[in-house]
């Protein structure tokens, strides 16, 4: 009988399907997606824009440093302004040209209860500087040849030459417990970070969340909150929605066009600081048209940088003063000023230089790497078009981008940002031959760079950097645009948190009212 099956029930299909839906829901609960554990006390939730791939120490990305510095600390750490401040070391003094002695903080405990001593610091640094270990941030302290224990709370670091930026370099080296490191190995450190920091590792779910609890015995004072959850929320709109809905208390990387959403909400406010990244458009000076310095200078007059900052950055960040360094960086040359916007002059100079206006000038950029990167390139291309230059924007995918950068074939003009982290050395290096990132070469610049790196005399270093900035300004290996802001949005109930120029979350003093 063809109608047999129909005796079961009318609408059978739908009902069965609904039953399956209920089953699927039940099964899904067992699929291993994380559920928030029961929280006691105050929980502070942070919405991060991007997570590192793992908690491996030594990866130099900010996303990585930001998470790792919750559990582990360096001898010297950075504050939100980017300056090196005492961390696990209380002070330092120069013993001779190449040896620095560090007095370590006493009575500091690792999360496992053991005491932090010079042995731990020496072990970590000696591990880092051994090239065989392939430690990511090795370059930050590469001149160091040896770490020696003097006594329980005294450490000597010996460098192969004068190392004026040793403190800034050390801020990237997170100290591990020697006993723990030896027991679990390098991979064990990533699986379960354990240090002296304000927060204790609980759980790490890649692509989703990082959970920590307060270290009540923290030497800097017990954190104000009991628990930290850092969530990865890649979409900026969703990140802001989560803040406004009260699911997160602090969010990173607020895009300029969504600032009004934060400002119009009653629960959150914007928190910003100028980062140390100088955003520039680098020229390929090896080939025409940019092998002609006149053409490079003319281009500088063609872009209304102040208008771009006003419209696209909504007046945030700062205009670079005709040089690579942001105004708060050591080595910034206050005597230099950006060239004014003068399109007529630009056009005249280009004609004079015999510039062929039909030459295609694609401006290469990544999308979303820097604040408003593609928009800024579009605006620059538009302004160049206004004086008749055949400029376009070429948005390049990340993997292809690094390949182009390595091969030094990024096209005639490309956008990039260089961080100084407060000291000219780290940014200025990118225009030296040794960095393998500059096609522009200048003997005097090279010599000054080495000079500044080879003395502990801060005044002499500053003089060298001032002159180097003058050279950059005169030679225009790149067009200097903006010091980008670092933008956070914070729930108004949160106190004790500040935007960080280096994008590291500093949460030990953060509290929720």
């Amino acid at each position: 009988m063809p109608t047999d099956r129909s005796n079961t029930a009318p609408f059978g299909l739908t009902r069965r399907a609904l039953g399956r839906a209920a089953l699927a829901g039940g099964a899904a609960a067992g699929l291993g997606l994380p559920r928030p554990a029961q929280a006691a006390g105050k929980t502070l939730v942070v919405g991060a824009s991007v997570f590192p791939d793992s908690l491996r120490p030594g990866i130099s990305s900010f996303a990585s440093s930001s998470l790792i510095s919750q559990t582990n600390e360096a001898l010297y750490s950075r504050n939100n302004a980017g300056q090196a401040v005492p961390g696990l070391a209380e002070s330092h003094r120069q013993l001779d040209e190449v040896t620095t002695q560090f007095e370590l903080r006493q009575g500091v405990k690792f999360h496992d209860g053991s005491e932090f001593t010079a042995e731990d610091a020496a072990y970590t640094i000696n591990y880092v500087i051994n090239p065989a270990n392939g430690y990511g941030s090795l370059a930050r302290i590469a001149p160091i040849t040896q770490a020696t224990v003097v006594d329980k709370y005294t450490l000597n670091l010996t460098a192969r030459a004068v190392f004026p930026t040793i403190l800034q370099g050390l801020t990237n080296i997170q100290i591990q417990s020697k006993a723990y490191f030896e027991r679990v190995g390098f991979d064990g450190l990533a699986a379960r970070p354990m240090g002296t920091g304000p927060f204790v590792f609980q759980r790490w779910v890649p692509g989703d969340r990082y959970e920590l609890t307060a270290n009540k015995d923290y030497w800097g004072g017990a954190p104000k909150v009991d628990r930290i959850i850092v969530r990865e929320i890649p979409d900026p709109g969703t990140r802001i929605a989560s803040l406004v809905a009260g699911e997160t208390h602090i969010i990173e990387e607020v895009p300029i066009d969504l600032i009004p959403q934060v400002e119009s909400s009653s629960v959150a406010k914007l928190d910003e600081i100028v980062s140390s990244v100088g955003l520039i458009l680098t020229y390929d000076v090896r080939v025409p048209p940019f092998n002609n310095p006149k053409v490079r200078e003319a281009f500088d007059y063609a872009i209304d940088k102040e208008a771009i900052r006003r419209e696209l950055l909504k007046g945030r960040g700062e205009l670079l003063q005709g040089q690579l360094l942001t105004s708060t960086t050591f080595g910034f040359n206050p005597a230099l000023k950006p060239r004014p916007f003068d399109p007529d002059k630009a056009k005249a100079m280009l004609r004079e230089a015999g510039f062929n206006f039909r030459t295609p000038i694609p401006i290469a950029t990544q999308s979303g790497k820097y604040l408003s990167d593609v928009d800024i390139c579009n605006a620059a291309a538009g302004m160049l078009s206004n004086i008749g230059v055949n400029a376009t924007v070429n948005v390049v995918e990340g993997g292809v981008w690094t390949q182009m950068q390595r091969a030094q074939r990024a096209g005639p003009m490309y956008m990039i940002g260089w961080y100084s982290l407060g000291d000219a050395d780290f940014a200025a290096v990118w225009f030296t031959e040794g960095s393998r990132r500059s096609v522009w070469k200048n003997d005097e610049y090279e010599r000054l760079f080495v000079e500044a790196r080879s003395t502990n005399d801060q005044e002499a270093r500053e003089r060298a950097y001032h002159r180097m900035m003058e050279i950059l300004h005169a030679e225009n290996p790149a067009m200097f645009l903006f010091g980008l802001p670092s933008l956070y949005a914070v729930n108004k109930k949160v106190t004790g948190f500040g935007a960080a120029s280096d994008k590291i979350l500093r949460l030990a003093a953060a509290d929720i009212a």
């Binding site: 129909s6 791939d53 793992s54 890649p206 989703d208 969530r231 709109g237 809905a245």
Partner: protein, 305 residues
């Protein structure tokens, strides 16, 4: 039917081989993982060591053969990003995507078939006009935009549901609706057209003549055969669902394999991309096979071909 299934399964490895090869070659040609993973300041020794470890000093065909040799032993290699076996990385995140895609698909089918039936039964009446117009509008709505609207309405204005992330059942509702909407309009329209077409067939008239009620004829005679075009559609669209899943996972910060693939591609983490692509390709191939077999079960006429 079994012979057919066996034939399909025999050629499956060939398709998978092509997928694996194209993925490998394209990723290798368009970016060097060493450049991406090592700091710009890395020493030449570090570069040389990683280059050798990944066999990047060999020509690409040789690299591929080495990769293939390990693959047939079930080894995709270590993920460069996560420093763990690539397959493990993918499988860890697969659960989230299956949960989301499964819920979305189910929602789309249940709602879509129901609404399609309503449209067919009350053809050209108000319900049909409203639903059909909404379906056409829905077809033209980008899913990311819908996701943002849903967050705005249900999470911000009404405060009923969380904006994002994974957690309890409340977290899956908005992303599942967003994902379902990619397929829903087409399911409605296909069900409607197919039911209407079948309603005029001889066997339907015969069933009615035997005295069966309109509803019973609709549900037991018309609906099952009408599902065939729908199944074909779903078989083709399962890939679209995976694509939609990437966008949905990103908007809703849902920890799934879609987002993992996206970051792995930009990092040129070849082992993870290959493991992900292969798992997804096997999934799609098997789904298609299941659809074909199901269609044969439903409609005996197909079995003869």
């Amino acid at each position: 039917m079994l012979a057919y299934a066996a034939r399909r399964l025999v050629i499956l490895p060939l398709s998978l081989f092509l997928v694996v090869m194209v993925t490998f070659v394209v990723l290798r040609l368009t970016g060097n993982p060493v450049d991406i993973f090592l700091d710009v300041t890395s020493t030449p020794e570090q570069v040389a060591a990683l280059t050798e470890k990944l066999h990047l000093d060999e020509p690409i065909p040789v690299q591929f053969l080495i990769f293939l040799r390990d693959l047939v032993q079930g080894d995709f290699g270590q993920s460069l990003q996560f420093n763990e076996p690539a397959l493990q990385t993918v499988l860890q995140r697969l659960g989230g995507t299956l949960q989301l895609a499964g819920t979305g698909l189910l929602l789309a089918i249940v709602l879509g078939v129901t609404l399609g039936l309503v449209c067919a039964v009350w053809r050209d009446r108000l319900a049909d006009l409203v639903i059909s117009s909404l379906a056409v509008a829905g077809q033209s709505m980008p899913s990311f935009w819908l996701g943002i609207l849903l967050i705005q309405l249900f999470a911000l204005n009404l405060g009923w549901l969380p904006t994002s992330g994974a957690g309890g059942w409340r977290h899956i509702i908005l992303p599942a609706i967003t994902l379902a909407t990619i397929l829903l309009p087409n399911i409605v329209l296909i069900t409607r057209a197919s039911v209407l077409e079948m309603s005029g067939e001889q066997f339907v008239i015969a069933a009615r003549a035997k005295g069966l009620s309109r509803l019973r004829v609709l549900l037991t005679h018309v609906l099952p055969v009408s599902l065939n075009p729908l199944l074909s559609f779903l078989g083709i669209q399962i890939g679209t669902l995976m694509g939609g899943s990437i966008i949905t996972e990103t908007i809703f910060a849902w920890p799934g394999v879609g987002r993992l693939m996206l970051t792995s591609i930009s990092n040129r983490d070849v082992p993870v991309v290959e493991a992900g692509v292969l798992v997804i390709a096997i999934g799609i191939a098997l789904t298609n096979l299941a659809v074909d077999l199901l269609q044969m079960l439903i409609d005996p006429r197909i079995r003869r071909h």
